[in-house]
Symmetry: C2
Subunit: 334 residues, 2 copies
């Protein structure tokens, strides 16, 4: 492997000039050409480790997500990775298996690896620690969930209006008793989605029956339980919104097991995974989050911060979702 020294020797120029060239400094046109050829000829490749030693930059970005088995996150990661790679950054991806203790540990791992920036989805690990990072001038971007009281850039879906619009579709179709299977209390996304549900009821002057609001844990099992509970109640809902992918799966499993006919016995709108929506019968209506946009926005924002551009910090990007209505939703006649 040839080094900057070899290029210097080959061209007759000094090491400093080569370095200047590499980093885009001012070099005479004729020397530019000379260096360019030499680099090609000698197959010179910059040594990121030597460079990192001087600059304290590793050219790697840490990405931390709750689970690598959750396609919502991995899709976003895939997009982020591509964009960062075009700027020469490698990405170290960690998941914490939905475990808050592990979240902390993995975050520390990333920091110990000297990443230049972090994009993360937090389930509420050590907020103090996360805050302390923002002091270390290593840019951190929060994905999917905001954290109260932490001044960091954030990219989220418009969760409130997502559930607002989904429920609105059901209301327009004359449903009066609409159930919702939500995430845990005090979880950002869940709280927002709950707010949307409540607000649309208010806007349409519909009463809210607290019993129709089931709080799950964003797991398959809790989705299953939620559907069971709602179906067993005295005056069960005629329509239902399930607010994440895993719980949607659980709910559908319960629907199958209980032999509930969709949509005549229950209209249902799920969340997130378009592909699955096509596999189940009848085709499932879903709320689609703008994964591509989320990934792009986060990656570009991070790149901007890495360049030292802290304009409008902390920025909050709230991206629009889309509701796809399919045969799993029925219009009630009254």
């Amino acid at each position: 492997m040839s080094t900057i020294k070899d290029v210097a020797k080959y061209t007759g120029l000094s090491i400093a000039t080569i370095s200047k060239y590499i980093n885009g400094g001012n070099v005479l046109e004729q020397n530019r050409e000379l260096i360019k050829n030499a680099i090609e000829k000698l197959e010179y490749k910059r040594n990121d480790m030597a460079r990192g030693l001087k600059t304290n930059k590793t050219m790697t970005i840490g990405i931390l997500i709750p689970s690598l088995e959750n396609i919502f996150f991995t899709t976003i990661v895939s997009i982020i990775e591509d964009i960062l790679q075009d700027s020469g950054y490698g990405t170290i991806i960690c998941d914490f298996k939905e475990n808050v203790d592990l979240e902390q540990k993995k975050l520390e791992f990333l920091v110990s690896k000297n990443v230049d920036g972090i994009i993360m989805v937090s389930y509420g690990g050590d907020l103090e620690y996360i805050k302390s990072l923002s002091g270390k001038e290593i840019p951190v971007i929060l994905l999917d969930r905001m954290i109260k009281g932490v001044d960091l850039d954030v990219v989220v879906a418009d969760n409130l209006n997502a559930s607002y619009q989904a429920v609105e579709e059901l209301i327009i179709k004359k449903h009066k008793r609409i159930g919702i299977i939500c995430g845990p209390k005090n979880t950002y996304t869940a709280d927002e989605r709950r707010k949307g549900y409540i607000r649309v009821h208010q806007d349409y002057n519909l009463d809210i029956d607290e019993k129709l609001m089931f709080n799950g844990r964003y797991t398959v099992e809790s989705g299953y339980n939620g559907l069971e509970a709602l179906k067993k109640m005295e005056n069960p809902p005629t329509a239902l919104l399930v607010t994440n992918y895993e719980m949607t799966i659980g709910a559908i499993m319960a629907i199958n097991d209980l032999n509930i006919v969709v949509p005549s016995e229950l209209s249902i709108i799920g969340f997130d995974n378009i592909q699955m929506a096509k596999v189940v019968r009848p085709p499932l209506s879903i709320v689609e989050q703008p994964m591509k946009e989320i990934g792009e926005t986060a990656a570009k924002l991070l790149l901007k911060r890495l360049k030292g551009d802290y304009a409008s910090f902390p920025a909050v990007h709230r991206l629009k979702t889309k509701v796809h209505i399919k045969e799993s939703v029925q219009k009630l006649v009254n």
Copy 2:
């Protein structure tokens, strides 16, 4: 951030001795203690970049998979990552979006990042290039697919016996005309799965009707087309094996669209994703690959190679699969 120098100054020992301690060399017990305390006190952290500059090790492993949106691969990656992290390695994960050109590019990216080792799933990129890596004494482990004529460690599922056993289940249930939706010709996994199909037919003295063997492209769409084609033929199969996750999805979509009743009109066994198997109606029989085992085996093997232990190189690990029969398969009466 304190350096090895600070520790030396603090303890009154030389830099060399501290380095020795850090790397597990011989140091007097009393000095060990001294150094240990100093490190703690000064919060000394080894600088991997400086170290890397000397040793040419980055303590990062490259992982290359076809798609981050394929849960089969991401599950394996998640396991690998955990194990490597326990040994201090970070992992740079790249996907190539099922695109062979991109495979090559991403692989080069990983190499340019000076990873210490690579675990990859190849769709058949530049074999010469991959071979050249094995010359560079950077260990490479092939996952999921073997490549002919390349001497590298390999961890794969026992694809041949996977389809053998799945089809055997159908044969035992008296099916005589069994269809298979397979991957592309000249693809390792697909060829193996085809072989299993053929061998079990031979072992049970059943004729093979070439028309029952559909070659898809491991995509949702080709699974859909495959089912359509098989169903439209003159003497359609009574049972079907679909040999990857995406094509299984496609096949189920087609079954829904064509209103085919499972299992009375068609028995079906799918591949890979247990969760999905529970969501569709009736519950889907599937072939499960040992993802956990695959990940563990690959990670541990790589760790071994990184230590310079090249015992039994190149090693081939062929791991057993498991067939889960559910209501989607029916026993024929004759």
